[in-house]
Symmetry: C2
Subunit: 290 residues, 2 copies
Amino acid sequence: MIAFTGHGLDRADHIRADPARLAALRGGGAALLLRLDGLSPVYGDDHALQFTPLDAAEDGELVFLGLRDEVPLFVAVPGAGDMRPAYEQRAQWAALGLLPPAELALYGGARSLADWHARHRFCAKCGAGTVLAKGGWQRDCPACEAQHFPRTDPVAIMLVEHDGDLLLGRSARFPPRSYSALAGFVEPGESVEEAVAREVFEEAGVRVRDVRYIASQPWPFPSQLMLGCHAVADARDLVIDYTELEDARWFTRAEVAEALAKGADSTGFLAPPRYAIAHTLLEWWMEERA
Amino acid sequence: MIAFTGHGLDRADHIRADPARLAALRGGGAALLLRLDGLSPVYGDDHALQFTPLDAAEDGELVFLGLRDEVPLFVAVPGAGDMRPAYEQRAQWAALGLLPPAELALYGGARSLADWHARHRFCAKCGAGTVLAKGGWQRDCPACEAQHFPRTDPVAIMLVEHDGDLLLGRSARFPPRSYSALAGFVEPGESVEEAVAREVFEEAGVRVRDVRYIASQPWPFPSQLMLGCHAVADARDLVIDYTELEDARWFTRAEVAEALAKGADSTGFLAPPRYAIAHTLLEWWMEERA
């Protein structure tokens, strides 16, 4: 199971476009509101997400997340968003390991949507204030009639292999000894496969071929879609872009095996945490090459 | 070759962050400006894209596209963007068939970027006017210091197979007899694979399994990243969402073969055009199942 997937909700998109039905759900007494502290989850004693009955008088901006066992779930838009990457929110990040998988996925989607609304209260086309629409899956501009939709930013993240070794890198902001897969946003005008090749060359000076898609993951810091790939390098000389990376190097199969097996007790490098797709990719690679 | 890929540019991202170097490229006499009419390409007698020497006095917003054979290429931000889907711009769409593949890819990326700037002149966070930054790969808000980045919206597009037949659908706005792969935006909080399953169920009432990624394509109307997949259905009963589709049905292998082989002369359905990834997926499927 890939972390942040498997939310188990019926997103019930037909309800989003039906204001009368949405109002009935909001005021019907059965709806629940996901409790957040800013954008962080509020944990109960059972380490589960906390919900409170939705007050019918609630008049703030609400996002309709979908139905869970027929129960409508909403999240309120907070006062401010947060674009910081996950590794700069380590207390929250560590705490996420507490949530059961389906709840982590539910929280992730809710967080991305709530954050997007908080950071997009104005019309990018004309500057006027916008209003939440379609149950929170859209914002409308009353001034110029532009419609705006939540963002999902595709990111290519890749294992690069040469002669049985893997290329991994680290940002200066990573914890000591932590290395992970190289990654970068897919830009306008390129395919996922082209983005993989461009990023690896930009960050490490390595040309790759045979790019192969492995798996994907939604990543809510703030709203990436991670597209996990594998690629093959013909040579291992590195030209590291030190504005992006603090280091990058080739790791042997044994080093990767130790990092995965021993976690924080690894004497070599530290693998990315279990809820990052880079971890999934490393596990896939160990199995694929077994 | 997948259409809109293979731009052949060195995107030279290190130059984007270097204002002095960027200014030198702009004013150095070697730079070329891609000619657009609104967002449409201007064609020469040779059916190629047209470029003009960049006037050093040019003071409008310019996007640095990258280097082609060491020559810096730019595109100017037009007065207005255009969010209409490709099939509502059929004259332009048909004309795109004229461009050589690398030029089509170059145009696609330039169009997405120029369009994004034209539709994002204000800060979504505070409403103030924003300024182009990083050679057009960013916009900055002088008022609240928010940074904004060009959008790329991931879309899942899928061939659904049951017992050797394929599920295809048509929008009421498609030309008569045209059918294509079902598709929809990947939403916050879901993987590509989850988006495929959700979209097929929403649009056609069919449950799928074994979702498999096949290929991707940037699609510049206005800036999608098409993620082409294949999935397997266990049953063929359809519940069509007529707010999204005019029709959907199962097509036999022979019907798909005829549509691909005969193009506009097909007596059955009409396949999507060659530069749509749906066409690529159908060709892949015929080969894969051969």
